[in-house]
C-alpha cells in the first residue's frame, strides 16, 4: 500500500519509452573502451607475456630458445649486474633531486609571478621537445667537452677540485664522468618535473596565501606551511615522471658517460643487441620493473598525498 509520504508513481506511458534507451546504452561504455583495451593488449600485455616467457627460456641463437622455467637466470643477472642497478637508482635519484631543486622555483615563477610572460616561459620549457632526445644529448657532449667553456670555467673556479674529491668527476674532465651523466639526465627530464609542479601550483587559490599572511605567517612560513604542502601532488607526480624514465635510461650514460658509469639500461641494451642473450636481458628488464614498482609504491604510501589529489 502506498502511504501519503510516497511520491506518486510516474505516468504509465513513460515506461515503454525509457526501456529501449536504457538497453541500447548498456553496452556503449564497453564499445567506447574497446580501442583502449585493444591498444593495451597489443602493445602492453602481449610484449610483457612474450618477455616473461623469454626470461625463463634457455638455448642459443643457432639452436633456438625453449621454455625450461630456468628462474636461475634472474639470480645470475642480479648477482652479476647489481652494481649497475644501484648506480641507476643513485643517478636517477640525484637527477630527480636536481630537477626538483631547479624546477620548483621556475614552476613557482610561472604560476605566480610571470604575469603576461607566462605563456612564453611555458613555451621555452617545452621547446626542447621539438628536437630529438638524441641530438639534445649529443649537444651536451659539445657543451661539456674538455676544451669547452664549461669545463674551463669550473676549472678556474676550482669547482672541479671539489667534484673530483667527491668522486663525481675525474681529472680535468667533466665528460665521461658521473657528473656528466647526472647533468644529462637532469636536463632531459626537467620539463617532466616542471609541468606537473606548475599544474599543481597554479591550482592553489591565491587567497590561501593572503589568508596565511593575514594569520601572521611570514612569506617563507607561508611557503613552508601552505604552498609547499599544497603542491605535494605535483612534487610526487613530477618526481615519478622524472625518476622512472631516468632509472631505465641508457642514452645519457652511453653518450656522456664511460664504462664506469654504465647504468642498467646500458646493460639491458647490450644484452639484447650485442651479446644477444635474450633471457638475461628479459630477466634484467623484469627486475628493473619490479624494483621501480616497489620503490614507487613505497614512495606514494609515505608521501601520503591521497586526500590531496
Amino acid at each position: 500500500m502506498s502511504t501519503l509520504t510516497e511520491a506518486p508513481p510516474p505516468l504509465a506511458p513513460a515506461e515503454p519509452e525509457q526501456k529501449p534507451v536504457r538497453k541500447r546504452g548498456r553496452f556503449t561504455p564497453y564499445w567506447l573502451l574497446l580501442p583502449g583495451i585493444l591498444w593495451l593488449v597489443v602493445f602492453f600485455a602481449l610484449p610483457m607475456i612474450y618477455q616473461a616467457s623469454t626470461s625463463v627460456q634457455q638455448g642459443s641463437l643457432e639452436d633456438g630458445y625453449k621454455i625450461t622455467w630456468h628462474f636461475a637466470t634472474y639470480w645470475d643477472a642480479l648477482a652479476e649486474y647489481w652494481p649497475q642497478f644501484l648506480r641507476s637508482v643513485f643517478y636517477a635519484a640525484a637527477a630527480t633531486l636536481l630537477c626538483l631543486v631547479l624546477g620548483y622555483p621556475l614552476a613557482y615563477l610561472i604560476a605566480f609571478r610571470a604575469g603576461r610572460w607566462k605563456n612564453l616561459i611555458m613555451i621555452l620549457v617545452i621547446a626542447p621537445f621539438f628536437t630529438s632526445f638524441l641530438i639534445r644529448t649529443l649537444a651536451w657532449k659539445t657543451i661539456l667537452s674538455d676544451s669547452g667553456p664549461v669545463v674551463h670555467t669550473l676549472n678556474s673556479l676550482h669547482v672541479l677540485d671539489l667534484t673530483n674529491w667527491l668522486g663525481w668527476t675525474a681529472g680535468d674532465r667533466v665528460l665521461a664522468t658521473p657528473l656528466a651523466v647526472v647533468c644529462g639526465l637532469t636536463y632531459n627530464f626537467l620539463p617532466f618535473m616542471i609541468l606537473p609542479l606548475y599544474t599543481s601550483l597554479e591550482r592553489i587559490d591565491g587567497r590561501l596565501h593572503e589568508a596565511a599572511g593575514d594569520l601572521y605567517a611570514k612569506p617563507w612560513t607561508t611557503f613552508r606551511k601552505v604552498t609547499f604542502p599544497l603542491s605535494m601532488p605535483g612534487v610526487v607526480s613530477g618526481t615519478l615522471l622524472t625518476f622512472i624514465p631516468a632509472a631505465g635510461d641508457y642514452v645519457n650514460a652511453e653518450l656522456l658517460g664511460s664504462t664506469d658509469t654504465r647504468m642498467i639500461g646500458n646493460v639491458i641494451q647490450t644484452q639484447f643487441l650485442r651479446i644477444l642473450d635474450y633471457p638475461t636481458a628479459a630477466a634484467l628488464s623484469f627486475i628493473l620493473m619490479a624494483a621501480i614498482l616497489a620503490m614507487v609504491t613505497l614512495y606514494i604510501r609515505r608521501s601520503g598525498t591521497e586526500d590531496l589529489v
Partner: protein, 383 residues
C-alpha cells in the same frame, strides 16, 4: 570578555585612496573612523570600492595615498602578518590540507604560542564545532566552513575583525541564521567588526553603523534606521529599500514646513528633513517610502484626515505577497508609485483600474537635491 575601551580598536582611515596601475580608481580619498567595539558595515554594489577599503585595512592592498591607523598605531606600511587584524575571507580560504583544529590553531602557532589546545577547543565550542575538530574543510557544510573561518580569525583576539562578504556563499535561510550568530559572537567578544556586504538587509540587521559606498565614495554614514528614514542622496534612498521620488518645486514656507508644488497638487515637507537648498522656486525631490503610504478608494476620499499629503492615481498593478500587498499606482507626479499595504483589512475595491488617493504623514516625507540622478542605486540602473 569585553576589552577595556582604550580606543586601541579604533580604525581611522584618513585621506585613503586606491588607484590601480591601469588607472582605475577604486577608492576616492576617504576619511572614516570606526569606533572600538562597534559593528560597522560597508555597504554598496559590486565595484563600489568597499572590498578594496577592507583590504587596505588588512594590509592586502597598498593605499595610493592616506594613512590607516589602528588606535594610535600607524599601520599603513605594515605587511598583513604584522597587523593586529584578521580577516574572514569571501568563500573562507580555509587551508584544505589542514584539519579544522589546525586551521583554527594556525594563527596562534605562527605567533609562537606553545600550548594552543585549550584556546582552540574553547574557540571551537564558541562556534559549536567541537565535534568536527579532526575533519578536513571539504567535509563540512558551507555554514560550518563559515564558522571555522570566523573561529580561525577570532582566536587571535585581533583589534579588528574584517569580514569580506562572509555570508555571500550561503543560502538565504542559513544566511539569516549566521547573521544572528555573528551578531551574538560580536556582542560576546566585544571586538570591532568591519563587515563588507552588498546585501542591504544584512547590513541593516547586523551593523550598529552603516557606511553606504558608491563609486569609491561614502555616500552616507549612520545608524541603519537613520539611513533608512533620512536618506540624503537618491542613491541611498533607492539602494536601501525602495523609495518613491517626486520632482517638486518649492512654493512657500510655513513655519518649520516647506510647501511644494508637484503635478498640480501641494505636498508638505518638514524643512529639517530636506537635505537640499529650499529657496522659493527651487527644485526638490520629495521622497516617501512605500510602506508609509495609506491607500484609500477615491469614493471615500472625504474620510482622509486633514494635514496629510495626498496624491491621486489609478491602480496599475497589485501583487499579493502574503504579509502585504504591493501596488503599483499610476499618478500624475510619478507613473510607477509603489505602495506596500499590510493585509489587515483589505478593501475589495482596490483592484487594478480603481481610482485611489494615496496619503501619508508629512513627517515621513524626505527631501533630496534635485540635481542628482533620480534612478541612482535602483535595480534598473544596475542593469
Amino acid at each position: 570578555m569585553k576589552t577595556t575601551p582604550d580606543n586601541s580598536g579604533d580604525v581611522r582611515l584618513s585621506g585613503i585612496s586606491k588607484t590601480y596601475d591601469n588607472g582605475f580608481t577604486a577608492v576616492q580619498p576617504l576619511d572614516l573612523t570606526v569606533p572600538e567595539g562597534s559593528f560597522f558595515a560597508l555597504l554598496g554594489a559590486s565595484g563600489c570600492g568597499k572590498t578594496t577599503t577592507l583590504r587596505m585595512i588588512a594590509g592586502l592592498e597598498e593605499p595610493s595615498s592616506g594613512t590607516v591607523r589602528l588606535g594610535d598605531q600607524d599601520v599603513t606600511h605594515l605587511p598583513p602578518y604584522k597587523r593586529p587584524v584578521n580577516t574572514v575571507f569571501q568563500s573562507y580560504a580555509l587551508f584544505p590540507h589542514l584539519d579544522i583544529y589546525e586551521n583554527v590553531a594556525f594563527g596562534l602557532r605562527r605567533r609562537g604560542v606553545k600550548s594552543v589546545k585549550k584556546q582552540v577547543e574553547e574557540m571551537l565550542e564558541l562556534v559549536q564545532l567541537g565535534e568536527q575538530a579532526r575533519k578536513k574543510p571539504h567535509q563540512l557544510s558551507g555554514g560550518q566552513q563559515q564558522r571555522v573561518a570566523v573561529a580561525r580569525a577570532l582566536i587571535n583576539h585581533p583589534k579588528v575583525l574584517l569580514l569580506d562578504e562572509p555570508l555571500g556563499a550561503l543560502d538565504l535561510k542559513l544566511r539569516r541564521q549566521m547573521q544572528l550568530e555573528l551578531k551574538r559572537i560580536q556582542t560576546e567578544v566585544g571586538i570591532t567588526f568591519v563587515h563588507v556586504t552588498h546585501d542591504q538587509e544584512e547590513a541593516m540587521t547586523m551593523a550598529d553603523t552603516v557606511a553606504v559606498m558608491n563609486g569609491g565614495r561614502v555616500e552616507q554614514l549612520g545608524a541603519p534606521t537613520d539611513l533608512y528614514e533620512n536618506p540624503r542622496t537618491t542613491f541611498v534612498a533607492n539602494f536601501l529599500g525602495t523609495s518613491n521620488l517626486i520632482e517638486a518645486e518649492v512654493d512657500t514656507k510655513n513655519g518649520a514646513d516647506i510647501v511644494l508644488k508637484a503635478g498640480g497638487g501641494k505636498l508638505v515637507l518638514p524643512e529639517a528633513r530636506c537635505s537640499a537648498p529650499t529657496t522659493a522656486g527651487g527644485k526638490v525631490l520629495v521622497g516617501i517610502r512605500p510602506e508609509k503610504i495609506a491607500l484609500t478608494h477615491a469614493d471615500d476620499a472625504g474620510s482622509i484626515p486633514e494635514g496629510r499629503n495626498r496624491v491621486t492615481g489609478k491602480i496599475a498593478d497589485a501583487s499579493f505577497i502574503g504579509v502585504s500587498t504591493q501596488y503599483v499606482i499610476d499618478t500624475p507626479v510619478c507613473d510607477e508609485f509603489a505602495v506596500y499595504a499590510q493585509n489587515v483589512e483589505r478593501d475589495g475595491r482596490l483592484v487594478p483600474g480603481a481610482d485611489v488617493v494615496l496619503h501619508w504623514s508629512p513627517a515621513h516625507t524626505f527631501g533630496l537635491d534635485a540635481a542628482q540622478d533620480i534612478d541612482a542605486g535602483t535595480e534598473e540602473e544596475a542593469a
